[in-house]
């Protein structure tokens, strides 16, 4: 049972889309985190709040909002659909739901790490002739990389555990959009507890490994 094809498929699907979602949000998350940590700009606090929202709102609400944004009825949804991009009832919907829900965790973690990099180092690098891009890649990021990796791991774990927004945006379609979380829900709904526990066990083990590693990285981060 544990090694049944379905279980493998669900697990690998969840891991693959989770990985893709994390890779997708990395550049945006890192850039935004840097803007939050180092710059002041108009409406900054508004954007900070919006980024944080998926973390505090019930996932179903976020799912509904995403459905409204990406559904075929919306302008964006129509535009994407005309170009062959189906989001709802598709793995792309799973990807977006995971990305949106895990984004705030990535941003917070990376932002904190950037905040712990001594700005004096960046200033000195500037006086030594380094362009802002060089400073970012050669000074800031290497000094904050542990926080970045920890944030990515945390985001990945969150993506794996994502349910509320996923079920609304991507649907619970076995074999096509069903992730570990959705499968657990399904089994529980029809009373198939043993099957649910198997998947639950897999989820817990994965989450434990990733979150533990993330915390370990943050603990061993040197404060400069």
């Amino acid at each position: 049972m544990i090694l049944s094809f379905d279980t493998w498929q669900i697990t690998l699907f969840s891991l693959a889309v989770g990985l893709a979602s994390t890779v997708l949000i990395l550049p945006f998350g890192i850039t935004l985190a840097w803007l939050f940590a180092r710059k002041e700009w108009p409406l900054k606090s508004v954007v900070e709040t919006i980024v944080l929202l998926p973390l505090v709102m019930p996932p179903v609400s976020t799912g509904l909002i995403l459905l409204k944004i990406f559904g075929r009825r919306s302008p964006l949804g129509q535009w994407l659909y005309n170009r062959g991009f189906e989001i709802v009832f598709n793995w792309k919907g799973v990807l977006i739901a995971m990305a949106v829900m895990s984004f705030p965790l990535l941003v917070r973690s990376v932002r904190t790490s950037f905040g712990e990099v001594n700005p004096r180092l960046e200033q000195i690098a500037a006086t030594l002739g380094a362009s802002p891009l060089k400073i970012f890649f050669v000074v800031t990021v290497p000094l904050a990389y542990k926080g970045i990796v920890a944030g990515a791991l945390l985001a990945f774990s969150r993506a794996l555990g994502e349910f509320g927004a996923t079920i609304l945006l991507a649907g619970n379609i076995p074999g096509r959009t069903q992730t570990l979380s959705l499968a657990i829900y399904n089994f529980v709904q029809v009373g198939k507890d043993p099957e649910a526990y198997v998947l639950l066990g897999i989820t817990v083990v994965l989450a434990f490994v990733f979150v533990w590693t993330s915390e370990w990285l943050l603990r061993t981060e040197k404060k400069v």
């Binding site: 001594n118 004096r120 200033q123 690098a125 500037a126 030594l128 002739g129 380094a130 000094l143 400069v224």
Partner: protein, 342 residues
Amino acid sequence: MDVRFDARVTAIFGPSGSGKTTLLDAIAGLREIASGEIEIGGKTLFSSVRKINLAPQRRNLGYVPQEGALFPHLSVRRNILFGSRRVSRGAAAQSMSMEHVLEILEIGHLLDRSVTELSGGESQRVALARAILSRPQLLLFDEPLAALDIGLKEKILPYLARVRDEFAIPMIYVTHNVTEVLTLADWVLVIRSGRLMAQGLPSETLTSSRAIRAMPEEELENVFTVEFIEADKASGRSRARLSSGDEIFVPYVPTPAQRNIQVRVRADDILIATQRPEGISAANILPGTVRNVEMIEDQSLVRVHAGEIFCVRVTAGAITRLALHEGSAVFLIIKTRSFQLL
């Protein structure tokens, strides 16, 4: 503040919190200023009127901050070479090869070390090398020795002097330490609370009333160049001659390569006597005449000519007790060990 200067090494001298670091940061382009103008070598770095604001990268300045700020994730070598792509024009470039800089600062053996293994003095020298090798048109120092203890300060100071002499890069040196100013600077600006209090030659300005008013708590020092006569190891002292011909005893040091050495003595370490004392441990008893007596807040500054002009700080009560005034004949009593060699 409106100031213009042109010197090899200009010191900015003032107590903590007087705005020295802010000034330096502004020059380097690391801080926004509301209005003003900064021009170096004829080139405008900043002008609020003409809306010019060069980024720090383009100002071609080397910055040595208080704690060195070495990049902890890079090796010493990569730190030093960080800014070295910039090439300046002029003869300075020739003398500034990497080997030469490493030699002058004696850090060649540290190249492959990790930055976190360096001692305080070593990391300051590495930071210095890094700034020099970026071939700046100007070096900025923000109290680079402040974080070091006294023994280390004495050790690193000569390196700074060497850098000044070997490479032709002008320096702006921020500090609240008188010794550093007197040793390194050709010109000094005295700052307090963001205002310019005085400027001029270090030896004069630092003992001037205006400077003292700016920094009443700071140490006052007298610095002279003296001629070395001979060393006496057994008795633990050496003899030197003031410009007037009077001789003084200074702590033992083997005969140096150059006859002329710099000595300094704190104004607080000199005693004034109206009679020549007997049976006293101090070896230096210099007869002299009081040039003037000045009261500044609760202290008195007495300038005495005794082979050189000595600035002596005593309490107001002493002035009254000894009835000191211009023209009084006095003796200056200075312990051998109060003379410190630079």
